[in-house]
């Protein structure tokens, strides 16, 4: 039996602030295979972004394990976690987080530079991705000159630059209208499927979640499988 691309086992996280401790994630458990596109839905403060951050190696869990291709990332030190994110994870952030003074192509080349990909390969890869996402004509536009939808599609292309196994997406449509949001998520899904990646998207928008293969719901830190998305469409 093949190892799942991602295994999340009894994952918990508690924040200790000035007030009483907050259990953001309580024993989340699920697994997913390459080629799947999952949505994690839930209201604000339900713990879905915290769960995403732990899967992506940005936060350390209090307990539990995250395994990516069989490797427990919660046991890696900061340097190895950075290398894990560099090679195995592609992030698409809520506010896209493109570097504003770089062009669309340079934002992609930056990712390759961080990943140690040689320049020639990186240029070919960046141009292909921009072309696939319908952004070839905007390659030399600064990030600040792009529309919201274009910025998110550049962020998707950036996430794919280093050919990661895992694409983690945080509220990609929060700043977009529904038509543009749908376009972005469909582009994302197409890329994940065509490249056989595992995609996990955090969203509070059930219409966007319905575009994925599976929906997991977070509520007060508790994760549960909602239903097959086919039934929602």
């Amino acid at each position: 039996m093949s190892v799942p691309a991602l295994e999340v086992i009894e994952l918990s996280k508690t924040y200790f602030g000035a007030a009483e401790p907050v259990e953001a994630v309580k024993g989340a458990t699920f697994s997913a295979a390459a080629g799947e596109f999952l949505a994690i839905v839930g209201p604000s403060g339900s713990g879905k972004t915290t769960l995403l951050a732990m899967i992506g190696g940005l936060l350390s869990p209090m307990s539990g394990t995250v395994r990516v291709d069989g490797v427990a990332i919660d046991r890696l030190d900061a340097r190895k976690l950075a290398a894990f994110r560099r090679r195995r994870v592609g992030f698409v952030f809520q506010s896209n987080n493109l570097i504003p003074y770089l062009t669309a192509r340079e934002n992609l080349l930056l990712m390759a530079d961080i990943g140690g990909v040689d320049r020639k390969t990186a240029r070919v890869r960046a141009d292909r991705l921009l072309d696939e996402l319908g952004l070839a004509h905007r390659a030399n536009a600064l990030a600040t000159e792009l529309s919201g939808g274009e910025r998110q599609r550049v962020a998707i292309a950036r996430a794919l630059m280093n050919d990661p196994a895992l694409i983690l997406v945080d509220e990609p449509t929060a700043a977009l209208d529904s038509a543009r949001g749908r376009q972005v998520v469909e582009s994302l899904k197409a890329e994940i499927k065509s490249r056989n990646k595992l995609g996990i998207m955090v969203t509070h928008d059930l219409a966007m979640a319905a575009l994925t293969d599976r929906i997991l719901e977070m509520h007060d830190g508790v994760l549960r499988e909602l239903s097959p998305t086919a039934s929602m469409e």
């Binding site: 940005l58 950075a82 994110r85 570097i99 930056l110």
Partner: protein, 366 residues
Amino acid sequence: MLGLLELRRRRLQFTLIGLIVTLISYLVAMINGLGLGLNELAGSALRNFDADAIAYAETSGLSVIRSELSQDTIDAILSTPGVREGAPLGYVAANVRYPDGTIDNAAFLGFDPGTIAEPRVVEGRSLEPGERGVMLADRAFLRASGYRLGDTVPVALRLQTREFRIVGVVEEGYFFFQPAVYISRSDWRELRYGQADDAPVASIVLLKGKGLPGTRAPGFEIVDKGTAFANIEGVAGQQSTVSALRAFGYLIGALVVGVFFYVLTLQKVPHIGVLKALGASNSYVFRQLLAQVLTVSVLGLAVALPLALATGRAIQRLPNPVPIAFDTRTVATTAVLLLVASLVGAAFSLRRILGTDPIIALGQQQ
């Protein structure tokens, strides 16, 4: 990649920082130039002596003014083990009447032609052995006085006036903050002591040889040229002031550059968080900052140092020039130290980079 691209794209911001670096570098270079200029005024002629060491009278406290040597002491100095070559030299400050009637003083150095005390003549000729009433004048003396090669210079000392004809020009600079002129040792002795037979025959002895500095014997002591220079009256205090100015220049340079790049780093914390979330290592992020610091500093120095050299040249053309000088060593040292100061300043930002949590990329608090 990122650091240099940011430099190009945020040109105004980095130009302003570059301007600050340029001004600081210019200030430090000018302080160094003025310090070196003061040094030259203090005694470039002494530094230019063709000697490894200098012998003073034991009781002089290494003062050329107070050092007086008899022929017996000079013979003892020249027979010191390790001495390969030596030449006695006399010094006296005397008043000179300039062509326009003003009176100023000059350093009269008495030497024997054909010895290591003889300066290099760049125009005219040197003194013949036994020749009296002639002098070699430094260009600084000619510039200050208005005299030219071939002119006769009235020199006043000990209630009498003597005349010396300028037969050669040298470029040895200043001695004891006065332009240097060179006369025969016989003329020097007469100028300083009159006709007295038992008068000292020299002030100091220039020596060539190995292992001489540090030698003490009855009647004399030998030091290297650096020690001799530092013992010129007023030089030690002047040197410590100039050194303090230089040190503060470097310190302020490091602080200013450091603070600017630290503020820049603070502004970029969200981007640093994103870079780290994307997998950039701390060293990758720091390398981007270093590339920016080095580029801005090198460009700042590339503008500031030629500007300082040009300012120095312009100042020297003024009717009353301020002592300022630059040499390759000082310019290179200034450049290297300012670069190091910039890097030290940039290191302030390292802690902020190390402390940036990539989780901020997800909009969460650290």
